[in-house]
């Protein structure tokens, strides 16, 4: 009965959408704002990667919201998983074999380095703070899965997370005093495009976001792993 009803609902949705699908051309140029970003992105923000200039420059308020959502999830998860979890039913975790353990230890700094490369070069190549942060967190996930029994210290991850967030917001607020515009205006020197030290505050913001997201996701993984033991 339930399956039947669901299929009916889905069929209605599919038909409704199918009819309108033709209206949106695929692969044709209809941009309005996008065109402006491509034309003026380099001059306004100094970043070679236009997507970065959109994310951290023009629509930086959305990025603030995004960072906040991650923070909400991390705090919420802490609130939901924290209470009463010390039930003492710690199973003995089977230690990892030597090959697995050594392999993970070897890979861990390499993955961290790769993640750091991605978020440092966010304004020059595809990538950025969020992508790099996710890769950094996956390095920690590898350690949890491979070298079982190792933990990151909770204090460090929370501190990094808070620090990263504060740097991001602080830089945005500094825009008020330095350049007279409240919130997130690109006020440091823009340098020459395609150099590492260019694009004003964008690389700094992305580094802060990279650290924050990496620490946050690693903290989330830690909470979930601790809970299931």
């Amino acid at each position: 009965m339930r399956i039947f009803l669901s299929l009916v609902v889905l069929a209605v949705i599919a038909v409704g959408i199918g009819k309108t699908l033709m209206e949106i051309p695929f692969g044709e140029d209809t941009t309005n704002v996008g065109g402006y970003y491509i034309q003026s992105g380099r001059d306004d923000t100094g970043a070679a990667n236009i997507v970065t200039s959109v994310v951290v420059g023009y629509r930086a308020f959305d990025t603030l919201g995004e960072v906040t959502v991650l923070f909400v999830a991390a705090v919420g998860l802490g609130a939901v998983l924290a209470v009463g979890s010390a039930s003492g039913r710690r199973r003995d975790v089977e230690p990892a074999s030597l090959v697995l353990y050594t392999g993970c230890r070897f890979l861990f700094p390499l993955i961290l380095l790769f993640g750091a490369y991605i978020f440092i070069h966010g304004h020059l190549t595809p990538g950025g703070g969020f992508q790099g942060g996710a890769i950094v967190a996956s390095a920690f996930l590898l350690v949890y899965l491979g070298c079982r029994g190792r933990r990151i210290r909770h204090g460090w991850s929370k501190a990094t997370e808070s620090l990263g967030g504060l740097v991001f917001v602080g830089l945005g607020l500094l825009g008020l005093t330095a350049a007279g515009h409240f919130f997130l205006s690109n006020y440091l020197p823009k340098g020459t495009v395609n150099h590492l030290f260019s694009a004003g505050i964008i690389p700094i913001i992305y580094v802060a976001i990279g650290f924050k997201v990496g620490a946050e996701l690693a903290g989330v993984i830690d909470d979930l792993v601790e809970e299931s033991e």
């Binding site: 209206e23 308020f61 923070f71 919420g76 609130a79 939901v80 209470v83 997130l184 205006s185």
Partner: protein
């Protein structure tokens, strides 16, 4: 229309409070409470400042990072915005006062206040933003914070309710995002004013129709309109009382009703079909809510169904579409926020003192808990629509507006629903507060001071709320808000011409 730099503070202050709480509140004991009170007082004060400014200049604009829209994100404050801001932040302030005592029973107070501040920041963000994707982002902030808050005590019921709420809420958000994508694909811009201009110049009716349906489903789910209401009767009772008050009192309105109004009036432009759909959905919600509320024995569940029914009232007022109808709907929105929060806080007080929410297990509480009983009575009278409480005026106005517009059928249904509302209110009063006090409850005391203070202030607003209809006061508060509806897409025209 002028530029104003205070607008982002409505989002910035609660965000700062939440971050500071996470840093400092862990170790120091009194910090979370203090930060909570200071932040909500701050946003409430800012709301009043903006009310003065809007009365003088009608529309306030702020461009984030000094990029003009549609290149950057704009924040727009007009009559409706400031109305919602004041409602939301007033209730938030009073609920925070209440929580300083109530949440002592739970551990990890700093997490509660952090999440609460984040939910408030999300709601304020939804209300002030002028960009449709930004609306989605801040909608998600408020929604995710509320999922975590519903599960806050981690009891079995709370977890189950929170999970159901999380899944259904995410479903609604995904529909909203789909709608945003369709609108972007069609108009190639995300700024609401720009979008309105593009749609005016002629758009594909089919895509706008599809996007309207998607938005109606998505935001309707957030506003708990029937048939998207299934999460509310589980989520609102299971949450801790201050969160129930926030959810029922402001969240479903800021995220649901306000978003629907803003999109359908200021961006798409209202049509007769849309008004009729809102009218129908409102009526169905009203009837289903009232009928299901009558059967309930759990105090908070009864109040939750009552919320569904009252949001139906608000939708009817908006669906009627005449200036009087809209004024009445907005007034009822404000009233409902006030008395529903009061009633939820009251039920929380009852639970705090007696340990139960089941109406069959209590009675005669008025003798031992006079202030709680008195304020809850005031809230109930307002809910039932008894003069001279505020609820009477707003319900009367909705019926009058329906009659004036020739919608006699809807007026009759509204009156019948009002009578049934009185019935379940009487049920709650009789079984809860009047009657005989059971043996095991003989030793209970009334609740601590902060909770009493908060409930008394809310009761005061219930009683004095009718004064908002006096002509001088009305001009300041309600009329500007209803002007937004009449202006429709003119607002977009004003903003874009100012910016160019």
């Amino acid at each position: 229309m002028i530029h104003n730099d205070l607008i982002p503070l409505m989002v910035g202050v609660p965000l700062a409070g939440a971050f500071l709480n996470a840093l400092l509140g862990r170790k120091l004991k009194g910090v979370p409470d203090l930060l909570g009170i200071l932040c909500t007082m701050g946003t409430l004060f800012l709301g009043f400042v903006m009310l003065r400014l809007v009365n003088a200049h009608h529309v306030l604009l702020f461009e984030v990072g000094n990029w003009p829209p549609p290149i950057g994100i704009a924040m727009v404050v007009d009559g409706l915005t400031v109305f919602m801001l004041l409602t939301v932040n007033l209730i938030a302030f009073l609920v925070v006062l209440y929580s300083t005592n109530y949440m002592s029973r739970y551990t990890q107070k700093w997490q509660f206040y952090s999440l609460f501040m984040l939910m408030l920041a999300g709601m304020n963000g939804v209300i002030v933003t002028g960009d449709i994707f930004n609306l989605f982002v801040y909608l998600e902030i408020a929604a995710v914070a509320s999922y975590a808050l519903v599960a806050f005590g981690t009891e079995r019921q709370e977890l189950e309710a929170a999970f159901k709420y999380a899944v259904m809420g995410s479903l609604g958000s995904m529909f909203v995002l789909l709608g945003v994508v369709w609108m972007y694909a069609h108009t190639s811009t995300l700024n609401m004013a720009d979008m309105a201009m593009v749609l005016r110049d002629g758009g594909s009716g089919e895509i706008v129709l599809l996007a309207s349906v998607l938005f109606l489903v998505g935001f309707g789910l957030k506003a708990a309109l029937v048939p998207f209401h299934a999460w509310l009767p589980d989520a609102h009772p299971s949450a801790p009382a201050p969160i129930s008050a926030m959810l029922s009192g402001v969240l479903i309105k800021a995220l649901g009703v306000y978003a629907i109004c803003r999109l359908f009036y200021s961006v798409f432009g209202i049509t007769w079909e849309l008004s009729t759909i809102l009218l129908t959905l409102g009526t169905v919600s009203m009837c289903v809510g009232v009928l299901l509320a009558l059967k309930q024995w759990d105090m908070k569940r009864l109040l939750a169904y009552s919320s569904i029914s009252q949001v139906g009232y608000i939708m009817i007022g908006i669906g009627i579409g005449t200036p009087l109808g809209i004024l009445a709907a907005l007034f009822h929105l404000f009233n409902h926020s006030v008395f529903k929060s009061l009633l939820f806080l009251g039920s929380g007080a009852v639970e705090y003192a007696t340990g139960t929410r089941d109406l069959r297990k209590m009675g005669g509480l008025a003798r031992r808990m006079p202030l709680t009983a008195g304020t809850s009575m005031a809230g109930s009278m307002s809910l039932a629509g008894i003069p001279p409480f505020a609820g009477f005026w707003s319900k009367l106005l909705i019926v009058v507006a329906a009659v004036q517009a020739g919608l006699y059928g809807y007026a009759i249904i509204a009156i019948v629903a009002s009578i049934l509302t009185l019935a379940y209110v009487m049920k709650m009063m009789r079984y809860g507060f009047l009657g005989n006090l059971p043996e095991r409850l003989k030793g209970i005391k009334d609740v601590p001071a902060m909770m009493k203070l908060s409930m008394s202030l809310l009761a005061l607003i219930c009683i004095a709320g009718g004064l908002l209809l006096l002509p001088q006061v009305r001009e300041l508060f309600l009329t500007d808000a209803s002007k937004t509806f009449k202006a429709g897409t003119e607002l977009a025209f004003r903003i874009m011409s100012e910016v160019r």
